[in-house]
Symmetry: C2
Subunit: 333 residues, 2 copies
């Protein structure tokens, strides 16, 4: 499996599933607005942000069950891995094998949805032979759908091919990371030890942001630093061409599987966040799903001096020489 | 001036002006997509991201001229201050006086628009007696309109009152900044000196983000840190209730005037970013337009222990005791 026709049919199913799941997320958010009447109605539950955490957790589980049910009816032979079911399971191993597998995050950007910041989405990937063949990311609050099917390109709202600027696609800047938008997330690991992930990230970020010539030659003077609170949206905006570089540790396969498919179909590159011993010469391998460490580079065109891939690899090495190794492993091993 | 009827009429004019200006920004972005044909057409200009800088600068100027022209026809007696005209003028002083004045940023989030990251917008404020009486912020890529008119509340897309969760409006978290989304921008000042703004910001941020108990009691364990690259959008998302705290230095009056109006009409608080000598007891004054230093707190409801204002002021003091003084002055003095 799967023939081109089968894959196309699964793709159409996945896009519709993403839309339907996204509407469930949006309905849940809207149910919290309350009426525009400024007086609390007697029937309305008092919902603090603390209570919103429970509410959103419940929706998260419901939307995963909804997606899993729909998949099980349409494709009963396929495997299914979702964030919620995984978290409740006994194993923390990487559970995806070569069989056709759905890998789903019913809600990426959970903190954003709790606070109703628009950068939350549903993320649905269909994986064959460990490779994401279909990716669907839908952010219902801003009504942005990102989707891709192996060999068919990546699309925004099903009509606009990604990256958006594509005639031609701009090369990576000659002095990258200067000129680049650098995206990263602060994450949940906030231990304040010099060797904790937070301080490693901060040191890496300051290197990327500081003026050229500073920090022993590591100052990267990126054009901008962005943090959205959603790994999936970060990857989608890389595929769009909006973010040039995304660097992150700690994500799980359901956070990134769909986004990686979309980014790769758009022409982007995904490798590991952690610099190898020889960042200037080590081979640049595709990121492993399940590795929890990712460095993504946007789709690029060739310049007069370099192929697209050469420009992307040069950018990878320029990031690697400025960032520290992050310490994220799988809890189970 | 201005009577309630006059103000309402000016408000309707400003909202339409925001929509029209936003469409000009969006048209400019879409003109860069190129066709979905993968081969460059002969007639199409080669647009690198470097060239996009010039293109966006040109659009910025054109949109300001468009807004200024429309205002001058409709309200010839009003003053006008826009980013582009100000930047080209001789003075760097704060030029707004008590007269009715339009204060306009034709494009906030310039770097975002260059890279086509959706967080860019037009920002239009109408100011009377130094106080923003009307604010219109429109982000055309995500089709989000935020608007407010003094005494009439703040609105998203003209139909949904802000903050979104309002029946009742949630109080500030009891352990704020824990539980809060903290928004800030890295800015353009990237000097890597211990006393430069970048290092002052980094130290402040790490205090806000680090686990409780760390950093000599300053660890704030915020729920999330976000950076969008647009002060105006940050303020709009505070008004929405999505961001609990926004802390920033370096903005100009056209970056914030409309956003401050929207936030205040939604029930938010805006004061200075820089902590006073006695952060725990100093009076909490409204931010001065033109001060370039802002700390915004989202609209809040009362809790069983505190009024809404008390909760906001407590949050201001908890931020002040964790952040360093920023060094931004007006170039002119």
């Amino acid at each position: 499996m799967a023939s081109t026709e089968e894959l196309q049919s699964i793709y159409q199913f996945a896009v519709q599933l993403g839309k339907d799941a996204g509407q469930l997320l949006l309905q849940s958010v809207k149910s919290r607005y309350g009426s525009t009447d400024t007086k609390p109605s007697h029937s309305q539950e008092f919902v603090e942000k603390d209570n919103a955490v429970d509410l959103v957790t419940k929706v998260d589980e419901e939307v995963e069950a909804f997606i899993k049910h729909r998949v099980s009816i349409e494709y009963p032979s396929h495997q299914f891995i979702g964030e919620e079911t995984y978290s409740k399971g006994a194993s923390r191993n990487y559970l995806i094998d070569e069989r056709p597998t759905w890998c789903v995050d019913p809600l990426d950007g959970t903190v954003n949805m709790i606070h109703i910041f628009p950068m939350f989405c549903v993320s649905i990937a269909f994986i064959v032979d460990h490779k994401p063949a279909i990716g669907v990311v839908y952010a219902p609050f801003v009504d942005q759908m990102f989707s891709a099917c192996k060999g068919r390109g990546a699309w925004m709202n099903e009509t606009q091919q990604l990256p958006l600027v594509r005639n031609p696609i701009p090369p990576m800047p000659a002095s990258a990371p200067k000129g680049c938008i650098f995206s990263f997330e602060w994450g949940k690991d906030r231990r304040d030890s010099p060797d904790g992930n937070m301080q490693r990230k901060v040191e890496s970020l300051v290197n990327m942001a500081a003026e050229i010539g500073s920090r022993g030659g590591k100052g990267g003077m990126v054009h901008g630093v962005r943090s959205l609170g959603s790994a999936t949206m970060d990857l989608a905006y890389c595929a769009m061409g909006a973010f040039d570089i995304w660097w992150e540790g700690g994500c799980w396969e359901w956070d990134v599987a769909a986004g990686i498919c979309i980014l790769q179909e758009a022409g982007g590159l995904v490798t590991t966040a952690n610099p190898p011993d020889d960042p200037l010469k080590a081979p640049i391998e595709p990121a492993k799903l399940g590795s929890r460490l990712y460095l993504a580079i946007r789709p690029a065109g060739p310049s007069s001096d370099e192929s697209a891939r050469q420009g992307q690899e040069r950018t990878v090495r320029e990031v690697w020489r400025r960032v520290r190794t992050l310490d994220y492993s799988r809890p189970g091993g």
